[in-house]
């Protein structure tokens, strides 16, 4: 099956710093999502981005599908950004994957005040 690798596994920042999280995947995809799992365990949708670039406030994401990677940018980080960031992909399997997402192992982000 498709492999999803996220880096770095852990990241510690001071409030106000910028960061880039990376997601590499081993096969072509027709869906890629970024999620934030907050300290209460909720999975928050950040971006649905199978290709291209999107921005939402201090967060932006870029997926280069032909090179099989996606980047999540966090600018001016805040303590509320702490948590685990997951990348999840659906392989381009000709309609038989039924929306099944394969998750990376996550990046644990800690933002200190």
């Amino acid at each position: 099956g498709i492999q999803v690798e996220q880096s770095p596994p852990d990241l510690i920042l001071q409030e106000g710093a910028n960061s880039t999280l990376r997601c590499n995947f081993s096969d072509s995809v027709n869906n890629l999502q970024w999620f934030h799992q907050n300290p209460w365990g909720q999975l928050i949708n950040l971006f649905y981005i199978p290709s291209g670039t999107k921005q939402n406030g201090r967060l932006s994401a870029t997926t280069v599908a032909t090179e099989r990677y996606s980047l999540l940018y966090i600018s001016s980080s805040q303590t509320t950004d702490s948590g685990v960031y997951f990348c999840a992909v659906q392989p381009n399997a000709g309609g038989t994957s039924y929306g099944k997402l394969t998750f990376g192992q996550g990046t644990i982000l800690t933002v200190h005040p």
Binding site: N30, N31, Q33, F35, Q37, G41, Q42, L43, N45, Y48, P50, V84, F86, A88, Q90, G95, S97, Y98, G99, K100, L101, T102, F103, Q105, G106
Partner: protein
Amino acid sequence: DTAVSQTPKYLVTQMGNDKSIKCEQNLGHDTMYWYKQDSKKFLKIMFSYNNKELIINETVPNRFSPKSPDKAHLNLHINSLELGDSAVYFCASKKGRGTGELFFGEGSRLTVL
């Protein structure tokens, strides 16, 4: 208005018991999923239903049985609970059968003693 809601949110039970987790979505989606998040935060798909039809059935012990009475509901019943079943179980839904954005519920934390 919670889009994907799960009950109960917390469940503590003894080994050998049978328990159920319920999920309901009010997004008008056609496809629903169960994912399991283990103690290392790894998320893995278990099952998926599309309009009451089982379309994804990963390698899961047959003590786990999903049931979808209609396209807005997906329940998970677990028989003869074991210690290793302790995890957070997430329900998710999406529109259509193929690609598209998944939305997750808040999770149900199951602890087996």
